[in-house]
């Protein structure tokens, strides 16, 4: 019960007036930063880090954690309302969130996202409280072969995303992976695929450039074609009653939420993986669990719930290796780690012993931040819906401006803005010909994780690919992945065979 009393002490720290003020402020700031296309929790935390030198370290980390949480909630907002994922963690949320918004159910999607985030956050914090130390060992057991196996699994859970046109889907995955390899080959240290010797390609093709191009500019061009440049008002409405109803309807998604939370948390703990693969896998699993997988991608609420529960759970999960091992599980935790060093705290195996008030104050404030993030998020839903109700001829130019600035800000390089424009226009033309674009966006996120892991493993084993199957953890994950790859194929084969049997009764 020692944990419990430590947690109570933590709560006493978390509800001090200063800390509580910071939690509320942090969640609000995070919500807005997360809702901007191009800005995610990394930016929020990095930008506000210097501000925290004016308060004690515990308050500072509480503030930054609140921003982190707020931004994770906020990421869903632009995914649902504009169809532009604000950060890679929110890509999967667009798949069903955007169709729901187009059907005039934006408020339901936003409520579902907020509720799922809350559940994901809560489950993960409880897991964090109970099993912080033993799970730190799991993170250590993950070397390159395990990371690669996990990436294969992430692709496998996504095989169901394939559209009707298999060559075009494959093309999309391949081009995303090729783009993800632009920049530097970290194994040989050589520059790679520097098109036209432009120095902008040295930093690679940022996921955001592709996502904002395709989902921002491409989507807008598509909508303009449909509306013929007309004013086109959204049918979105929101009332208190509707919010309550949507919350009630979510009971049927409870199973999905819990699944997403656990999956997200465990993937989040693993260094290098983080929230993005977690949310993608949760989406894939939710789809394969569903009774009506066909409705996914067309506005199924479970398609919003699963990734949102997972990405919030993962963001808590990724704090675990940061605190206990001093290893960041995501870019955002890397910045948090930098902050801890500046405040004079030593993250690492001894942090629970040397700074208990800090750790438990942080954990308790996560509970508080999670609650406030839910309340503030729901409170702002009418305002977000209000924005959606603007005439499209006003909304469109504002979104274009946001896309341009959002494409510029992460790297502060106009090169990326031009690239984004090209992706937007080409993506729009390809989309008209039924090329699915989501696989390319996923591939560009997972590629940089998968390729180095594959090659590091093979260097270690001197080119012996059996290394992925010989080690217990990676072997298990690989087997699951292979089953998931083969399952849809066997279904197709069986269907074809049955059809053949029907046409040939003899």
């Amino acid at each position: 019960m020692e944990t419990f009393s430590l947690l109570i002490d933590g709560f006493a720290i978390a509800i001090e007036p200063l800390n509580l003020t910071l939690v509320i402020a942090g969640v609000t700031v995070g919500l807005f930063i997360g809702a901007m296309p191009g800005l995610g929790s990394v930016n929020g935390v990095a930008i506000l880090l210097p501000m925290t030198f004016m308060v004690p370290p515990t308050s500072a980390i509480i503030f930054l954690a609140a921003i982190y949480y707020g931004a994770m909630y906020g990421g869903a907002i632009s995914s649902i309302m504009l169809g532009i994922p604000g950060a890679s963690t929110a890509v999967a949320t667009t798949f069903d969130g955007r169709p729901m918004a187009l059907k005039g159910m934006a408020d339901k999607a936003l409520v579902a996202a907020a509720a799922a985030s809350f559940v994901g956050g809560t489950i993960s914090i409880v897991l964090f409280t109970l099993f912080a130390l033993p799970l730190a060992g799991v993170a250590l057991a993950f070397g390159p072969p395990e990371t690669f196996a996990l990436m294969v699994l992430a692709f496998a859970t996504f095989i169901g995303l394939a559209g009707d046109d298999i060559p075009k889907t494959l093309f999309s995955i391949f081009i995303g992976l090729v783009f993800s390899s632009v920049g530097l080959d970290i194994i040989s240290g050589e520059p790679r695929l520097i098109f036209g010797d432009l120095s902008g390609f040295y930093h690679g093709i940022n996921f955001l450039v592709l996502a904002i191009g395709i989902y921002g500019i491409g989507e807008m061009l598509w909508t303009i074609e449909v509306s013929k440049g007309g004013v086109l008002m959204s049918k979105a409405t929101v009332t208190f009653r509707r919010v309550l109803d949507s919350l009630g309807e979510l009971r049927s998604s409870a199973k999905t939420m819990v699944m997403g939370s656990f999956l997200g948390y465990f993937v989040g703990i693993l260094p290098a993986a983080g929230a993005t693969p977690g949310s993608l896998m949760a989406y894939g699993v939710a789809k394969s669990m569903a009774k009506d997988p066909g409705s996914f991608g067309k506005g199924n609420v479970d398609g919003v719930v699963a990734p949102e529960a997972a990405n919030n759970a993962a963001s808590t999960g990724s704090m675990l290796p940061m605190l206990t091992l001093g290893i960041p599980g995501s870019p955002t935790t890397a910045i948090l780690l930098g902050g801890m060093v500046i405040w004079g705290l030593e993250p690492g195996p001894l942090v629970f012993v040397n700074h208990p008030d800090f750790v438990w104050g942080l954990i308790a404030s996560l509970y508080v931040a999670n609650l406030f993030a839910l309340l503030i998020n729901i409170g702002f839903i009418p305002a977000f819906i209000g924005v959606l109700k603007l005439p499209f001829t006003v909304l469109a130019p504002i979104i274009f401006v946001l896309c341009v600035i959002g494409g510029y800000v992460p790297t502060q390089d106009m090169h990326d803005v031009w690239l984004m424009l090209i992706f937007g226009v080409v993506g729009y033309l390809m989309r008209k010909l039924d090329y699915p674009m989501a696989p390319a966006v996923l591939a560009i996120v997972l590629g940089p994780l998968a390729e180095p892991a594959l090659r590091q493993s093979l260097i270690g084993s001197h080119g012996d690919a059996m290394i992925f199957f010989e080690r217990p953890i990676s072997g298990t994950i690989m087997l699951v992945a292979i089953v998931l790859f083969v399952l849809p194929l066997t279904k197709i084969v069986i269907r074809l065979w049955k059809r053949a049997a029907c046409t040939n009764p003899r």
Binding site: V29, M51, A272, G326, I342, I459
Partner: protein, 333 residues
């Protein structure tokens, strides 16, 4: 209390609800001053050692109000810093851009002559510290000395001894090449994205040894999970608990087993003398601050203030030394 108020006001600006009413910093009496936010380019990606250090410096500048306009960190880590170098070259004469460097400052232009970057032309500002390297193994092994280490590597054979480090041609691989040459051993070198990952891989026993910076292993060492065997420093340079680690020189392996990672700040070529003086002044204050000195001693960095022509001379000498190292490790011809 005042800090808290301006902090909360700052927040409201962040949400776009109001304006930050920050107290204008007392301007320095004369000379050049930045007229807009200063771009503090970092030659490496977010979250790595160089990035953390630069953001730490930015924090000190902010905390002590050392500049009338903020320093804004911008990561340009692409191509092992090639992108940052090209950026600085293109901003010749721009006094609002400075850059935090590490050893890729020498190796990247040497490996990519096509960049057309000559580091001797950049304006030197300050060397803030020198970081060093140690040979690390997991504390679960019974390797307690360099001698044990060499024996173990030879028994295991190159194929079964995995050395983790950063990308090929970068610092870790150069230090590994030094080891291999000195002791006539061969290891399998596995490149990872950053020193932090390398440290963790050692603790997870995915690799057998590393040549981490002291700061990267400090936490694990303290927790008794890793063990340093020897430092790549001259005698007596390292102080504190890291000073207790024997150096290769002390162990009798000669004085050539020395390798530093410099942590310096530079500006583009052709900036005003006054602007250069301003930045030197700012970084001198940072260097002398209690926070910086405390960080150096805690993280096992070697203090080493250097500025002006002396710094340029140092860069040129180091570049020549790296050219030799790169040729020895067959990374360049």
């Amino acid at each position: 209390m005042k800090g808290r108020i301006s902090f909360i006001l700052g927040l409201s600006a962040a949400v776009g609800l109001g304006l930050a009413v920050s107290v204008p910093s007392q301007a320095m009496a004369q000379g050049w001053q930045p007229q807009k936010p200063v771009e503090f380019v970092i030659m490496a990606g977010k979250g790595g050692g160089a990035d953390r250090l630069a953001r730490f410096i930015q924090g000190i500048i902010e905390k002590h109000d050392l500049s009338p306009k903020p320093f804004v960190p911008v990561n340009k880590g692409g191509g092992s810093g090639a992108e940052a170098l090209r950026y600085l070259k293109d901003h010749a004469g721009d006094p609002h851009v400075i850059m935090a460097t590490l050893n890729s400052y020498y190796t990247t232009p040497l490996r990519n002559p096509g960049l057309g970057v000559d580091i001797a032309k950049f304006t030197p500002i300050a060397r803030m510290a020198e970081d060093t390297f140690q040979l690390w193994v997991s504390s679960d092994t019974d390797i307690n000395s360099v001698e044990d280490y060499i024996k173990s590597v030879k028994t295991a054979g190159a194929a079964n001894w995995k050395m983790g480090g950063t990308g090929k041609g970068q610092e870790d691989s150069l230090v590994t090449a030094m080891l291999e040459k000195k002791f006539g051993i061969k290891v399998t070198y596995i490149p990872y994205k950053g020193g932090g990952t390398v440290a963790k891989e050692l603790i997870g026993k995915h690799i057998n040894s590393t040549v981490n910076n002291p700061s990267e292993q400090a936490g694990f060492w303290e927790a008794g999970k890793s063990r340093p065997l020897a430092s790549f420093t001259p005698k007596g340079k390292l102080k504190g608990r890291f000073g207790a680690i024997p150096t290769f020189e002390e162990l009798g392996y000669g004085s050539d087993m020395v390798y530093y990672m410099q942590r310096s700040v530079i500006a583009p070529e052709g900036i005003d003398k006054d602007a250069q003086a301003f930045y030197v002044g700012v970084f001198e204050k940072v260097y002398k601050s209690a926070e910086w000195q405390g960080y150096l001693s805690k993280k096992g960095l070697i203090p080493g203030w250097l500025t002006g022509q002396a710094l340029t001379d140092y860069f040129i000498a180091e570049r020549a030394a790296h050219s030799v190292l790169l040729k020895a490790s067959e990374t360049i011809k």
